[in-house]
């Protein structure tokens, strides 16, 4: 078990023959991800990295039975790629591309939901089920198999957390980078629901940041329904108001979306708050040991 993706996942890469996509597809293949083909309009019929290239997602799905897609196309075309994948009934759509206009994501997310698919991202490192399937741009070697689920708005901070978990003697079931945009396909709550029912996942680490209220929604959900231990860290405690901190969604608007507001909500919901990003790994491992 694990959530959303595993060894059986048949993965398609949209924007397959591009430079970035080629590099990351190679990395995924060497991790063991079952990439069955890719899509680049106009290059259908070619073979790339030993896999077939198709003109459209629909064609690719028909030929390969792909059920997961990784999107690495330029931002101006990314929303279209997301909707194309949903139209072709791809089950899990992972959009790595950053810089997509909010309005585009707004429509794409509604459509994906309507089709019953799951969108991860955009502007995220992707999803990895340790030692099974890596669909994204994260360094695979950091993720050792284990029982901790990891949900994060950030890329490199996710790798940092995974490393800390592993150093402390534990491992990761599935790690998901949900992205730092104002509107994202899959939220903390969506994933907590999946981790709740995943027998392989015993505890969850969630890494939030300033801006929006997804962490507050997570706090509400955890308080009501989530019984597995959760450790959270919120980045941006020292971020100034009104400034966009790298991620399009990481901004304190007026006095809303501060780190302290989110930390308090999570604390009140029974979540263990890591005061610094350096103690997340040891905190979660300690809690799990005490439970045994």
């Amino acid at each position: 078990m694990s959530i959303l993706v595993n060894k059986q996942s048949k993965v398609l890469v949209q924007g397959f023959t591009g430079k970035e996509a080629t590099f990351h597809s190679e990395q995924c293949l060497s991790y063991g991800t079952n990439i069955v083909g890719g899509v680049t309009p106009g290059k259908g019929g070619q073979i790339h990295l030993g896999k077939p290239v198709f003109n459209t997602v629909r064609e690719a799905v028909r030929a390969t039975g792909a059920d997961v897609s990784m999107i690495l196309v330029p931002s101006a075309f990314a929303a279209d790629a997301i909707m194309e994948a949903a139209a072709a009934e791809i089950r899990v759509i992972v959009c790595i591309t950053e810089g997509i206009p909010v309005q585009d994501v707004m429509y794409a997310k509604k459509y994906v939901k309507d089709k019953g698919s799951v969108l991860i991202g955009p502007n995220c490192p992707g999803i990895i089920t340790s030692e099974e399937s890596k669909i994204g741009i994260m360094p695979g070697f950091v993720f050792k198999k284990g029982t901790i689920g990891l949900i994060s708005k950030s890329g490199t901070l996710t790798y940092e957390m995974a490393k800390q978990i592993v150093i402390n003697g534990a491992g990761i079931s599935t790690a998901i980078g949900i992205g730092g945009d104002p509107i994202i396909g899959t939220t903390f709550v969506d994933l907590l629901k999946l981790f709740k029912d995943d027998p392989e996942t015993e505890a969850v680490v969630m890494i939030g940041e300033i801006g929006g209220d997804l962490e507050i929604q997570a706090a509400d959900y955890i308080e009501q329904e989530f019984t597995k231990p959760v450790v959270a860290f919120i980045a941006g405690q020292t971020a100034p108001r009104g400034k966009r901190m790298g991620h399009a969604g990481a901004i304190i608007a007026g006095s809303k979306g501060t780190a302290i507001e989110k930390m308090n909500a999570l604390k009140n919901a029974g979540v263990n708050i890591a005061e610094t990003p350096a103690v997340v790994g040891e905190t979660i491992v300690k809690i799990m040991k005490n439970k045994e």
Partner: protein, 391 residues
């Protein structure tokens, strides 16, 4: 991206939003000429800077004669306006907007913003205009009407009805308001804004709604298809070092502390600032050199950080995932040489080939390079080094 009031009003007028007659001026001569064209005997002179709170700070003045106009414009152009949003340095006024006066029967608030929880634009209106909407929301939330607009159906008559009845407007006022808010929504949607704020929205003696102030912010990610908006960017309003960093694909925000930070990835960069503070230091900046740090971005990063005289030590915190750390280490050494870093450099490299990277840095035997084993170790060493340098 943000624009000036005069620019926002020009855009909104194109959409049919009612504004007062006005003109922008950068010199006294232009202002006098503009006053003549506008006509009348009194005008309002408004400093054009990207910050709220201008009125209280003396950036908006009513003038009742040509002599008063000249005196006010002379004083305002070239002044540093300090409002609660500008910081202590204030902002240099290079442009003023001259506007005709209006009879104000009542002040309202009208804004449109992306509601991230609902994932659609929400229109916010209030009978309490001219004050900060957050203050109204906190103290008298019953005076606020909110209507979310699902982009799948767009702005409809019922949205307008929810607003006008919510605000308790008379039949005549309803008509003017509905027209106003519809035009405003279209501007928000078509120009891909992330914020429009009309505060105050005034009701005049003829029961017409008019935008007395206007603020517009745009989705940076959508600017590629709005060259007409990009052209409105006023470079004087931006922090020069932040603009320069942006042109090299770096994300830099200047802060007030003594520990410079160079990090790959926005989340890790924010966390690095947090842990510096936790260890008793103050971060001097936010700097994200991008998930895949390269020698070029690192060199540029050093250059920009070092321009801040407040920086007493730099903490380089890079998690080299797919990018190999030994390569980054060599890049850092080149960059250090190229940009002449003299202050302590605390380097934490983690990820692929991190051991080799540390070896490379240590073998280089550069006095001001201190290696760190992890995040906490690096932050501690950086704060300590900055403290010692600052003495």
């Amino acid at each position: 991206m943000n624009i000036h009031e005069y620019q926002a009003k020009a855009i909104l007028a194109d959409y049919g939003v009612t504004i007062l007659k006005g003109a922008m001026a950068e010199t006294l001569e232009d202002a006098v000429q503009a006053a003549e064209i506008l006509g009348g005997k009194s005008w309002v002179v408004k400093a054009q800077i990207h910050a709220g709170g201008r009125g209280k700070a003396g950036g908006i003045k009513l003038v009742k004669s040509r002599a008063e106009l000249e005196e006010t414009v002379k004083k305002m152009l070239g002044m540093r306006l300090i409002t609660h949003q500008t910081g202590s340095e204030g902002k240099l006024v290079k442009k003023i907007y001259l506007e005709e006066t209006a009879v104000i029967k009542k002040e309202y608030y009208l804004g449109i913003v992306l509601d991230r929880a609902k994932e659609m634009p929400v229109i916010i209106a209030s009978t309490e205009g001219g004050v900060e909407i957050e203050k109204v929301a906190a103290e008298t939330p019953e005076k606020i009407v909110k209507v979310a607009v699902d982009p799948l159906i767009g702005f409809r008559s019922f949205h307008a009805r929810e607003l006008v009845f919510g605000l308790g407007l008379t039949t005549i006022q309803q008509k003017s308001f509905s027209h106003f808010v519809k035009a405003l929504y279209h501007a928000y949607y078509q120009k891909e804004c992330n914020l429009i704020e009309i505060n105050p929205l005034i009701l005049n003696d003829k029961d017409e709604f008019i935008a007395l102030d206007a603020k517009m912010g745009f989705d940076d990610n959508a600017l590629f298809r709005h060259q007409e908006i990009r052209n409105l960017q006023d470079l004087d309003e931006e922090e020069p070092s932040e603009l320069e960093a942006g042109s090299f694909g770096l994300n830099y925000i200047k802060l007030e502390g003594n520990v410079g930070c160079m990090v790959n990835g926005a989340g890790l960069a924010m966390s690095t600032m947090d842990i510096i503070k936790h260890e008793g230091g103050e971060p001097a900046n936010f700097l994200d050199v991008g998930g895949a740090a390269s020698a070029e971005t690192v060199t540029k990063g050093f250059e920009i950080i070092l321009r801040d005289p407040g920086v007493k030590a730099i903490f380089v915190n890079i998690f080299g995932g797919i990018v190999r750390c030994d390569r980054i280490a060599r890049g850092i050494l080149d960059a250090t040489g190229a940009s002449g870093v003299q202050i302590p450099l605390i380097i934490r490299l983690d990820g692929t080939n991190s051991k080799e990277a540390v070896k490379i840095l240590q073998q280089a035997k550069i006095d001001n390079i201190i290696t760190a084993t992890d995040l906490a170790d690096g932050a501690r060493k950086a704060v300590k080094a900055a403290g010692e340098m600052g003495r």
